[in-house]
Structure formats: C-alpha cells, structure tokens
Chain length 203, copies 2
Amino acid sequence: MDTPKSKHITWTDSHVTYAMRTERNRHQGAVVWFTGLSGAGKTTLAQLVERELFALGAHCYILDGDNVRHGLNRDLGFSPADRTENIRRIGEVANLMRDSGMICLTAFISPYLADRATARATCPTGSFFEVYCRCDLAECERRDPKGLYQKARAGKIPEFTGISAPYEEPNAPELVLETDRHTPDACAGQVLAMLRERGILVS
Amino acid sequence: MDTPKSKHITWTDSHVTYAMRTERNRHQGAVVWFTGLSGAGKTTLAQLVERELFALGAHCYILDGDNVRHGLNRDLGFSPADRTENIRRIGEVANLMRDSGMICLTAFISPYLADRATARATCPTGSFFEVYCRCDLAECERRDPKGLYQKARAGKIPEFTGISAPYEEPNAPELVLETDRHTPDACAGQVLAMLRERGILVS
C-alpha cells in the first residue's frame, strides 16, 4: 500500500490545455456548421470535407442525424421546441469537440436563425463557421435522396422544412455554397479554402 | 460556374472510418468512466490520466461538471430523473468522442447503477471502462474540496450523494481504485495499466 503524498487530493494546474492540443494537432479546433434544406447536400459536403481534412492530417468528426438523432437526441421530435433543443444540444457537443482540438462538422437542417445563433454563441469568437448550403427547393425536391419530400407532399410527414415548416436563411453566414450550381468537390474546396483563410488550418 | 458531375448528389462510401482514425492515432477509442462520491478523486484522477495519455501521444478529453453542467446539461437539476438524463446524455457524448477515436474520460458521481449501465450500453463491448473511485465517506467529507459536504450537512444542498441521496456501488467495475489508501499517481498508473492490458493503448 502506498502512502498518500498528501492527505488532500487537490486540483493540478498542469492539466492538458487547448493550446497543447492544437499545437500537437497543428490546426485549431473549429465548428463547421452546414445548414440548408433536406437534399441541399449538407451530409455529402461534410463527408467530402472530412475526407480532405483527414488526408491533410487533421482531426475531425461529423455530427449528423445518424449519430445524434438515434442517440443523444432520441427523446426529441420535430416540434419547434424540440427542434430548438435538438440544435442547442448539438451546438454544445460540437463545442466540446472543438475544445478537444477537433474540427467538428455538423450536418443538420437547423432551420431557425435563433437556434443557429445559439449554437454560434456557444463557441469562442472566430471558431464557428456557418456554411449555408443554398439550393432551390425545387432542386432539393427533385433530388429527394431519402424520399422525404414525396412523403411530405403526401401529408405523411408533418412539419417538414420547406413544405410545411419554415427555413430561415442565414443573414451573415461565413460561407454560402450554391449546391445546385457547383459540384460537391468544388463546394468542399471552398470550405477548405475558408478554413485556411481563417487560420484554422495552417496553409 | 462548374457543371455538376451528377444531377444527384449521393452518399460517398469512402468516408473516414473508425478504423482509419484509430490506425492513425495508434490507439483505440474508449470511454473511461470514473464514478464515486464527491471528493473521492474522480476529477483529479481523470486529469492525471489525461496528462499521462497526452504525454504518450494519445488523443483524450475529459467530460466533467465544469464543461457539461453549465453547457449541454444546464437545463437539468439534481432530482433522480434529472440525474438519470444527465448521465444518459454524458454517456452519449462520451460514446461520440470514442467513435471519433478519442479516449474520453468522464468524472461524474453517477450514483445510480442503472444509469451507469445505460452509459455502458451506449458503447461497443470492450470500449467502456467503469473505474470506481472507492473512498470512505468520512474521508471524502474530511477532504471536502468544494465545501459541499459542509453545506449538505447544514441542509443547504438537498439530495446530496452520500448524505441525503444514495450512492449505488458498482457490481462489476473494470477497476476499483482505493483512493483513500493509494496516491493519485499510483491510482492513475493502474488506469494506464488497464488500458494497456485491454488493448486500448498499444504497449
């Protein structure tokens, strides 16, 4: 049995800091928040950017419906109040990941201005990047990758963004991607360029 | 303006996988769940282990009251239902961090067996490590690093674990640390040894 060095276990000042993490990672932590209608390409772009970042040696992770809606936020539905709480929690988790030194990519419709403002306010200034995936509703509906617009038009999905629930466009996003006019690769390249320009990635 | 390669943006199969992350990191993702009374040394140990892991080149992060109670779980109190939801969300976030390839250390009293079982069930088998920081209540109360026991005894904190709310000891934790008998460094060493033995860290 060891003899305790001190009778009092005390907090240590030498814990691992954000600066230590980012120095090792050779990039800053950040939250890249993709927003836009269903079918606008948020998840596709997040995955492309993730792949590029990983290839560059960066530590990154995607939060999306697949890993959040069935886990952390499984208790939430699609009412306005639940959508707000959904986005609030995602903002908090994204910020924790950022604080851990990662570049966290989120891919959620996140239709309300106020909710995205809350997510932004969770992060330190300059570390939150709102990326608006702008795409004509008609084009989103034509793509309809999950068949959701068809169901929404048939009245089978209540409160579906763009059909029976509002999407509030960003006022001042860090980046607008015209996903109905440019290729996914070109759009992903714009995100990478932004992260370089803003000092998240070093060159 | 680019010409879209395809009219349909589709999911890519070549996204970054868990295996790719851990191969790069040279360690597995894991959740190390410290549980025990207030004052038992959970946060101190999590910080010591984090420091050691970081020195070994591992990617790790601590979830504790400081970064969770005032953020993600700011809407929750200390009633049994709120404690359960508090731990459920922490388990989900810890698992997301694990999935990102990190070793996530959590430092919460987490007094209920059922809640810790829920957190464990969130993680793949073999990736969740319950570390019971066992310490006599009398010793915790003597340490009282935050002055909480004094307040609880004075009736100023309702439902305080160990005084006016129960702590349910783990049945089968991966590790028991006798924090009232061994030094913090010795206890941290036991955690590192466990992570090596269980294949989370490579030697």
